[in-house]
Amino acid sequence: MAGGTQTTTDYIQHHLQNWVYGRHPDGTWGFAHSSQEAAEMGFWAIHVDSMAWSIGLGLVFCWLFRKAASKATAGVPGGFQNAIEYIVEFVGGTVKDSFHGHSKLVGPLALTVFVWVFLMNLMDLIPVDLIPYAAQKFGQYALGMDPHHVYFKIVPTTDVNIPAGMALGVFALMIFYGFKVKGPGYVKDFILHPFNHWAFIPVNLFMEVVGLLAKPFSLALRLFGNMFAGEMIFILIATMYSAGLILGIFGGFLQLGWAIFHILIITLQAFIFMVLTIVYLSMSHEDH
């Protein structure tokens, strides 16, 4: 656990702080040693742990699926190939159901979103203290750092930058395909819709832009909110371990129950992110 000298608030705050590398207010670049320092860096900072886990899990996805793709045969598939093909077929079926148009991008995009988000969410099921605690010990003994300055969050999707980055990517694709499919007529969607009269152009513009911007926001915040809340509950349950034996054992059962329930949530959130990505892209492919 997090050590006896910490208060519960400290413990929770420590758990919610990323490992940050960025520009200090004095202009030098380096790691933040506290939440305050991290906050002072503002925009010019990067969450090293989020990025490392996110890219690492993305590489796991690429490696797994590339391995299946390169070894795949049209004959009788083995267990591994079968599993990968099952996922691909599931994603392909969802794309076929929701996306009405022809695109070489949407299938691979949906697959990447689904598997990658799922893997990132899956990190939530690793006991909440395990890897941060190991990182703390590693930082303390191997790198000679103050253990209280070692911050390590392992669930990238509880960092709002990660879902927001993906949502922005999807948003860029929505705009791109909107113009590609509809040409300059895409603008008409914003100024002459839903009220097809020149006098309503400002009203239309306001409503449509709000509607457009709501899409990436809802996409990012839904995933972030769910994963952050889930992580928070894991952390809160974990604070029970320092409150005596009976509460500790009770907390252990709570942790187990929440983890089992969380299996559903992480899969569902990955699925929802994928489906919304497909639906949004389908909408920008549709001609009115």
């Binding site: 010019w44 996805f61 690429c62 070489k104 930058n161 927001a164 980055g165 993906m166 922005l168």
Partner: protein, 156 residues
Amino acid sequence: MNINLTLFGQMIAFAVFVAFCMKYVWPAITSIMEERADKIADGLDAADRAMRDLEIAQNKASDQLKEAKQEAAALLEQANKRANQIIEEAKDQARTEGDRLKQSAQAEIEQEVNRAREELRAKVATLALAGAEKILEASIDENANRELVDKLAAQL
């Protein structure tokens, strides 16, 4: 929640992974799945065709069997008929042959009888003459008694 450079880092990583998936993962796996689907469809088609062929062959075989049975029955019937006919013919032939033999035998017998009678007649005449010659011991005029003797012989 603080937005910072991580956002763009994630966007770049996202773009790279999607591009990788689009280039090296998705087409390879989907094409192989389609290939397998085609293969399975072909296999099922072939199985259907084979079943149909089998059914046709079975029908053909049973038809041929039936035909062969009918033919065999017809042949058997014909053979029986022919055998009966042959037997009847043989019987008829045997009967006519028998009749013919009987007739010729009877004719022969009759002929023999007639011949024997003639011989006997000739011999009786001669014997009667000789007897008469002996009885009379005299040389009675043969010519005078000839008529008498012939009359006697004819009565035999």
